[in-house]
């Protein structure tokens, strides 16, 4: 027995005691191969997964390093079976390789013939391969490069892609570090991506993923296609690129529902690409419209399934994924790995916060009690109506008013899901409201006003969830949300986590109805936030100051 900070569990989770003097060293040692799952205050939980281990292999770590890290930092003996399993799993990556053959083009080869024989016999792979060139090499149809990698990952033999990228059409792009500087982790992230070829950079909301994208473009110096979640986000990307790089507005095009411009740097929304008319995707030609040297995927964890299919055909181009989390609600992390690329860089949220880039947040859940008449109505309601009934109780309005009053001088967002409730709140609080049917122009105006401080209070629906930069928000009050999705929570908290002046604390209030499904969903939220290491309190509405 040693006194290390790490405990290895038999279910392949790693527990790291954060207050241990050697915790920091241990975290550095295990971060390359273990995925941080939870980071509450005392003990962080990491998990060993095949994908995580392969991600580590892709980043140049070997099994011996992993085993040594575990043995060195583990407090108790590490189960032998687990070590064997780690070595075995890691040795599976790279036995198969995709590369360019001078005569035969794209080929799949192996240093381990039985493995090649095994995968050649797999049904789902047969159609993707061409003729056998020699004992260890088989030709691959170039169009199947992505599909093959996906299929091999599913078989448990992920292939290394050494086939390289096309340079694409050159276009001068430089970072314009005037009055600002690339932060150290942003520089590291961009470098790690560039040396890896293609892959994903994982950074929390507010840590400046856009700037990492800009830095990557500065390395590529080629025409770039940027795929984002929605139009507002597209405009933000454009503004940011104009501000941070040598690019001029004329060089940047927007390709969305409203505008269809194709310029050396083009920003397109997922939605327009996935739109279908008469069974075909009419905007697919965008992908071939130019000889793109770099494709940037914003919010990779939200990447819709059709984009995956399109990406499978883009394997010869450099791909950069940006996200706050690799966890996908649909469990398609493997597709991100094989089609966009392995993880190239990440940093836990709390670490960045400690460096002072992100404002710490104080999360409070306020519980209101329904009066008995409403409780009766709730109890007898149809199950599908219950959440709405519980979430929209008029008693929340009163609590919101009191909270807004408490934070009267701080920019505040009130976030909800139900339009009626939002309208009611907006009228009650005398504040502007942004909903799904608010025109983009009007949205832009209100967001600008909020940023400049003209408007101190905004009521927003979930359209505001994704990728809108409201760095000035200091208080968020959530009155309803769709069924406690972790992803949504990350987004909402992200609104508040943008850097604040002089280290102010952000406040995140959630108002829930006691003893209803609303409170049950709140429990997911609480768990997620606590697992991310945020202070979380529960108070009764009556005890609210």
């Amino acid at each position: 027995m040693t006194d290390g900070p790490l405990i290895v569990q038999s279910d392949k989770t790693l527990l790291l005691e954060v207050d241990h003097p050697r915790a920091a060293a241990c975290r550095l040692a295990i971060a390359p191969f273990a995925e941080l799952e939870r980071s509450p205050e005392h003990v962080h939980t990491y998990r060993l997964t095949p994908l995580g281990l392969w991600n580590a292999r892709a980043a140049g770590h070997d099994a011996e390093q992993v085993v040594d890290a575990l043995l060195e930092h583990s407090r108790y003996p590490v189960p032998h079976a687990l070590l064997v399993d780690v070595a075995e799993t890691m040795s599976r990556y790279g036995r198969l390789r995709l590369h360019k053959h001078p005569a035969h083009g794209l080929v799949l080869s192996s240093t381990d013939r039985p493995v090649l024989e095994e995968v050649l016999r797999a049904k789902r792979i047969k159609g993707m391969l061409g003729e056998r060139i020699d004992d260890d090499t088989v030709a691959v149809h170039p169009s199947e490069r992505g599909n093959l990698k996906q299929a091999l990952l599913k078989l448990g033999w992920p292939a290394e892609d050494w086939a390289g990228h096309v340079d694409g059409e050159a276009h001068p792009i430089d970072l314009d570090e005037d009055g600002w500087q690339l932060r150290s982790y942003q520089r590291e992230a961009a470098e790690a991506f560039w040396h890896g070829g293609s892959g994903v950079v994982v950074l929390p909301c507010g840590a400046g993923k856009t700037i990492v994208g800009a830095a990557a473009m500065g390395r590529a110096r080629a025409t770039t296609l940027i795929l984002v979640t929605n139009t507002v986000s597209a405009r933000q990307w454009k503004d940011e690129l104009v501000r941070r790089t040598s690019l001029t507005p004329a060089e940047i095009g927007e390709y969305s529902g409203a505008v269809k411009e194709i310029r050396p740097v083009t920003i397109a929304t997922y939605q327009v690409l996935t739109t279908k008319r008469k069974g075909v995707h009419p905007h697919l030609e965008l992908l071939d419209a130019r000889d793109w040297g770099l494709i940037v995927y914003d919010e990779v964890h939200l990447l819709p399934a059709p984009i995956f299919r399109m990406t499978a055909d883009l394997q010869a181009r450099r791909r950069l994924g940006l996200t706050a989390t690799l966890v996908r609600e649909d469990g398609r992390e493997g597709d991100v790995f094989s089609l966009i690329g392995p993880k190239r860089y990440d940093a836990p949220w709390k670490d960045i916060e400690a460096q002072g880039w992100i404002a710490p947040a104080d999360c409070v859940e306020v519980r209101v009690s329904l009066p008995s008449a409403e409780r009766l109505a709730y109890a007898t309601a149809e199950p599908e109506e219950r959440y709405r009934l519980a979430a929209c109780t008029p008693h929340k309005t009163d609590v919101v008013r009191r909270l807004v009053k408490t934070h009267v001088d701080q920019p505040t967002l009130v976030i909800g899901q139900y339009i009626d409730q939002l309208d009611e709140l907006a009228a009650e609080l005398d504040a502007p409201v942004i909903k799904g049917d608010t025109p983009v122009k009007e949205r832009q105006r209100l967001f600008d006003a909020f940023r400049s401080g003209e408007v101190g209070l905004l009521v927003v629906s979930k359209v505001a969830n994704f990728s809108i930069d409201l760095p000035s928000a200091e208080v968020a009050i959530q009155v309803s949300g769709s069924f406690g999705s972790r992803q949504e929570e990350a987004q909402r908290l992200g609104r508040l986590l943008r850097p604040k002046a002089e280290g102010k604390t952000a406040h995140f209030y959630t108002i829930v109805s006691r003893d209803t499904v609303d409170a049950d969903f709140a429990q997911n939220r609480q768990r997620f936030l606590a697992e991310q290491g945020y202070a979380y309190r529960i108070v009764d509405a009556d005890d609210l100051a």
């Binding site: 405990i7 290895v8 569990q9 038999s10 005392h42 108790y76 003996p77 079976a81 309190r537």
Partner: protein, 652 residues
């Protein structure tokens, strides 16, 4: 040591030689060939006779190494090389009573020559080397300790679970495939490991078949409760000792037999009489490795197999898999660590369980008295917990992850469960504050209070019948009536009374009191009972520790009894005629070994007794094959027809 290798002393027979052995040597013989000691032979003649039986000699040959076998061959068949047999080999063969000091030099028992078979083709004098690697001792020890800790923890987790929801016993006596799979899932191990743990638990007497409710199920035994009270090191010793001593083969579980049936865990018949010796052989060999050397990971096992087949060349081919299993199972159980035998394992193999437990206990992490409680409603115990604390935590939280540490999760369901078994909110707060090394997070305190708030707002209880009446005064009047005390009536609402008296009796009683009730709807009673934790009877089995002591005592007693028999025989007037069947057999075997002629009394087919002068050659299957001087040819005589045996006088 007065071995047979010393040419100076020679004997007329094996019996005579045994008579001359010091007691220590006799004890060593009985220990090496335990079949000679049960039942205790009456004297040295009987011992010599038994030592020359085919069955016993076969067993003894099984114990010989390749070099010893080659030596025995030379002594038996090869006059030219018999002088080259090393004295140590002759000594060893003599110590096993396979060879004795005849006047013409060391001579193998005559039956040995028959049983030896063809000589080994390429006899090698020295054992094949083991493939080893350098492995720091602390690493191997740590690995073994970790495995030992896991084994104890897993057996406990599994049997606790089976105490609540026991798996069914198959009609054939084994454990169903699905139950084994569920056990593997519960323990987060592969199925073969789960099979090993289940088998070892059963062998240690912690698990047995019982039928508490009719159907036969596998249940933890009463001995399991005692085992749980031991400290982890002693618990491990119990399990490891049970494994060392079992002839069962957990490695067979899941394999298919000749008829294509899959072998179930705990099913009868998965045994091999060589299993115990193979384990001893493997561990004994590894115990000889110097500190810092361990069996190599890839090539180690094949080299160990080669060594084993040199040490026990006469074993069947199954020895290879026995050796493989011995290594993998020992590693799984923490007897071995990374191919080396740590101190605890070494002591255990040497038969010193108490010292092994002490050696292990010194290395196991000390149990903790605290946990780390976090805002995500988990509590992490960063090591093993004191048993009492662990039990209480299990009441108030669910286990989410196991291993070196335990992660508990609090939820409203787990808190409610604690309230159900009698905790109060205040108890919970106090408990959490006392076990948490850090301040209890506010959300957890809130969870406790919030759950307690709604706990018990619904009440239920037993009643055999209810009475309801819209008119409250009727019920009040009824309750104040004299003569209703025995009906167990209780007013639970102004208009509802419940009764512990069954409906039909209550109806009669109320009618007798002058009321006119009507029975309303079907009655229903609610039975609430927590699933009781059940136990099977511990199967009768001697504790392993006692076994070893008893074996040693038995061997010593047998040796003493042989000596007593010898003294009695010496004090008797020389009785040349062997007249009991046992004596007759002993005398015949002695004559075979000495190559002498005897006179036997023989009853022929017609019931006529005659005396024959014969030179016995072999005894086998109740038949003596002998050279009969009368017919001048080999003849077979039935042993049961021989009435007496005496040496033929006049022949030297």
């Amino acid at each position: 040591m007065c071995g047979v290798g010393e040419a100076s002393t020679t004997y007329r027979s094996l019996a005579e030689q045994l008579r001359g052995w010091p007691e220590g040597r006799l004890v060593a013989l009985l220990r090496a060939r335990p079949d000679l000691a049960t039942p205790a032979p009456s004297d040295s003649s009987a011992l010599a006779s038994r030592a020359a039986t085919r069955a016993s000699v076969l067993r003894a040959l099984d114990l010989l190494t390749q070099a010893e076998l080659a030596g025995l061959h030379a002594l038996a068949h090869d006059a030219e090389t018999r002088g080259d047999v090393p004295a140590a080999t002759v000594d060893r063969l003599g110590a096993l009573a396979l060879v004795w000091s005849a006047p013409g030099g060391p001579r193998p028992l005559s039956v040995v020559a028959d049983l030896l078979g063809p000589p080994p083709s390429t006899p090698t004098d020295s054992p094949p080397p083991l493939a080893t690697v350098e492995q720091p001792e602390d690493r191997t020890t740590r690995t073994a300790v970790g495995a030992a800790f896991d084994v104890v923890r897993r057996v406990e987790v599994l049997l606790d679970e089976w105490g609540r929801t026991p798996p069914g016993a198959l009609r054939s006596g084994g454990l169903g495939v699905r139950d084994l799979r569920a056990a593997a899932r519960l323990l987060q191990v592969e199925e073969p490991v789960a099979a090993l743990l289940v088998e070892v638990a059963a062998e240690a007497g912690l698990l047995a078949v019982a039928s508490p409710t009719g159907a036969e199920v596998w249940l933890p035994t009463g001995a399991y409760d005692e085992w749980c009270r031991l400290d982890p090191a002693h618990r491990w010793v119990e399990l490891a000792t049970a494994w060392l001593r079992t002839a069962r083969l957990p490695g067979l579980v899941g394999s298919k037999d000749a008829s294509g049936r899959t072998a179930n865990a705990l099913a009868p018949g998965l045994v091999d009489s060589h299993a115990v010796d193979s384990r001893a052989l493997v561990l004994g060999t590894l115990a000889e490795l110097p500190a810092g050397l361990a069996l190599a990971s890839g090539t180690g096992v094949p080299s160990l197999v080669a060594r084993a087949s040199w040490l026990r060349p006469r074993r069947p081919a199954t020895q290879e898999r026995l050796v493989g299993w011995a290594v993998s199972e020992a590693t799984e159980l923490g007897v071995l660590g990374l191919g080396a035998l740590p101190e605890a394992g070494r002591l255990l193999v040497a038969g010193e369980p108490a010292a092994a437990a002490a050696a292990l206990a010194a290395l196991l992490p000390a149990p903790l008295d605290h946990v780390l409680v976090q805002a995500d409603l988990t509590a992490v115990a960063p090591g093993p917990l004191l048993p009492d604390l662990a039990a209480r935590l299990h009441q108030v939280a669910d286990v989410e992850s196991r291993g070196g540490a335990t992660v508990f999760r609090f939820s409203s369901a787990s808190v409610r469960r604690a309230l159900d078994v009698g905790w109060s909110a205040a108890d919970l707060h106090e408990f959490l504050a006392s076990v948490s090394r850090t301040p209890v997070p506010q959300p957890l305190s809130y969870l406790v209070d919030d759950t307690a708030r709604t706990h018990g707002t619904l009440r239920l209880g037993w009643a055999e019948a209810f009475l309801r009446c819209a008119d409250e005064s009727v019920l009040t009047a009824l309750l104040s009536h004299r003569g209703v005390e025995h009906l167990g009536l209780r007013l639970i609402a102004p208009t509802v009374v419940v009764s512990t008296t069954p409906v039909d009796e209550l109806l009669t009683a109320l009618r007798e009191l002058g009321a006119a009730p009507v029975v309303e709807g079907p009655d229903g009673t609610v039975h609430l009972a927590a699933a009781p934790v059940r136990r099977a009877r511990t199967p009768r089995r001697a504790a392993p520790g006692r076994d070893a002591a008893r074996d040693a005592a038995a061997v010593t007693a047998a040796a003493a009894s042989i000596r007593a028999g010898d003294r009695a025989a010496a004090n008797r007037p020389p009785q040349l005629v062997a007249s009991t069947p046992a004596d007759a057999l002993a005398a015949l075997r002695q004559a075979i070994e000495a190559g002498t002629t005897v006179v036997v009394g023989y009853v022929d087919n017609h019931g006529v007794t005659s005396e024959r002068v014969i030179e016995p050659r072999t005894v086998d299957g109740g038949q003596v094959t002998a050279y009969d001087h009368r017919v001048q040819d080999l003849r077979g005589l039935a042993v049961h027809r021989i009435t007496s045996v005496r040496p033929a006088s006049g022949r030297s």
